[in-house]
């Protein structure tokens, strides 16, 4: 099997495109059918996408899906939304302005193993009205909490924006974390910006900006990594 057509390509995803868009773009650019990735990012999010190129690597996707990750996240305090991010309907607003000390104290309770309730699947993406209504009803369906491992660091607080850095185990939802922090602070919060800065051992600094892919002189084959 040629190593030229197999490997890992690290991309810094641009905001506004889906993770799958990268899959189809790379298929077009390489002519390789078997392309996958090791964990999706929402369209509004940016950062590390581990793209798996070729049969050998797409087969190994489980190996990469399980890796821990790190994010830089910005949340807006005082506004809670249905989807916990910028795309959902506003469900509550508050004038309460937490102090820096309160925030530092609350963040301490989000260290180590915590139980997290996964967010319900996004009604925002549903196309027709009827399906949208059904998905909204699904939001109230009880979801079982999942144990995740977290480390949260305060980066900047400038009300209403709170910026944190999160290292976490696989399956952690950063928008649920933003929502939960808002709940604990008593003011509500939702996620406004998200960048994945690490996936397993792959760092943002190692990634190729998504826009580079469209550069006609860019060679994908020479950027493939083998593991």
């Amino acid at each position: 099997m040629s190593t030229k057509n197999n490997g890992i390509l690290l991309i810094d995803k641009a905001a506004g495109t889906s993770s799958f868009y990268l899959v189809s773009l790379l298929r077009r650019l390489t002519g390789i059918e078997k392309i996958g990735h090791a964990g999706t990012l929402d369209p509004f999010a940016t950062g590390v996408m581990v793209m798996l190129i070729g049969r050998e690597y797409t087969r190994r996707s489980n190996e990469f899906l399980c890796s821990d990750k790190a994010y830089r996240a910005t949340m807006q305090l005082g506004v809670a939304t249905e989807t916990y991010d910028i795309e959902g309907k506003i469900i509550s607003q508050s004038d309460l302005v937490p102090t820096l000390e309160q925030i530092e104290t609350i963040l301490l309770s989000f260290q180590g193993e915590i139980l997290q309730v996964p967010p319900m699947y996004s009604a925002k993406k549903i196309q027709g009205q009827k399906l949208y209504d059904l998905a909204r009803k699904g939001i109230t369906v009880e979801r079982a909490p999942v144990a995740v491992q977290l480390q949260v660091k305060l980066i900047r607080y400038n009300y209403p924006l709170l910026e944190i850095e999160v290292s976490c185990s696989k399956g952690t939802y950063i928008r649920s974390l933003a929502h939960d922090i808002g709940q604990r602070l008593g003011c509500g919060a939702h996620l406004v910006e998200l960048a994945r800065i690490r996936s397993g051992s792959f760092l943002l600094e190692q990634c190729i900006p998504q826009a580079e892919l469209k550069n006609p002189n860019f060679s994908i084959a020479s950027h493939l990594r083998q593991l």
Partner: protein, 162 residues
């Protein structure tokens, strides 16, 4: 933007599902409509035990489509006609497995769906079942293999083995 759509529960995302999803992913703007609970829970309980938890199913499905839509399968959804369900999308293409029927009263069979597609200007494709050892790959075959202790067969059917 027009959507290429497939609909299914995709329990286990086995080899048969993957063949269909691979085909779907070759279309621009691929969308998967799936459910957060087994349709049998509503239509014909009890539902069988799941091969994959929802989160894991979704993380696999997301590798094949621009959008994965998840809705709970409840009585309200079961009472939507197939025409009404399809009218929720601006379709370019619909991809389904051979023999699949959907919508209220199971009226969305191949013949009815093809007629609807023709009058609404999109194409339809029914993909034949995937065979493994001359037998159709299905979620129930995998459950039977697991119950019989044949994890090797189950893993092969699930696509866990290269």
């Amino acid at each position: 933007m027009k959507t290429a759509l497939t609909i299914g529960f995709f329990d286990g995302v086995h080899l048969g599902h993957r063949a269909l999803l691979q085909r779907l992913s070759e279309h621009p703007h691929a969308t998967i409509l799936t459910f957060s609970n087994h349709p049998k829970e509503v239509l014909n309980p009890p539902a069988p035990p799941l091969l994959l938890p929802l989160e894991e199913k979704l993380s696999i499905l997301q590798q094949y489509a621009d959008e994965v839509l998840v809705v709970p399968f409840n009585l309200e959804l079961a009472s939507i006609t197939f025409e009404e369900l399809l009218s929720q999308f601006d379709l370019s293409h619909l991809l389904l497995g051979t023999g699949s029927v959907f919508g209220q009263g199971r009226k969305g069979d191949e013949e009815a769906v093809k007629r609807y597609a023709k009058s609404h200007g999109f194409t339809v494709e029914y993909l034949p079942k995937t065979l493994y050892d001359q037998e159709v790959v299905s979620s129930s075959r995998i459950r039977r293999a697991l119950a019989a202790g044949n994890t090797s067969l189950a893993n092969h059917l699930l696509g866990n083995v290269p």
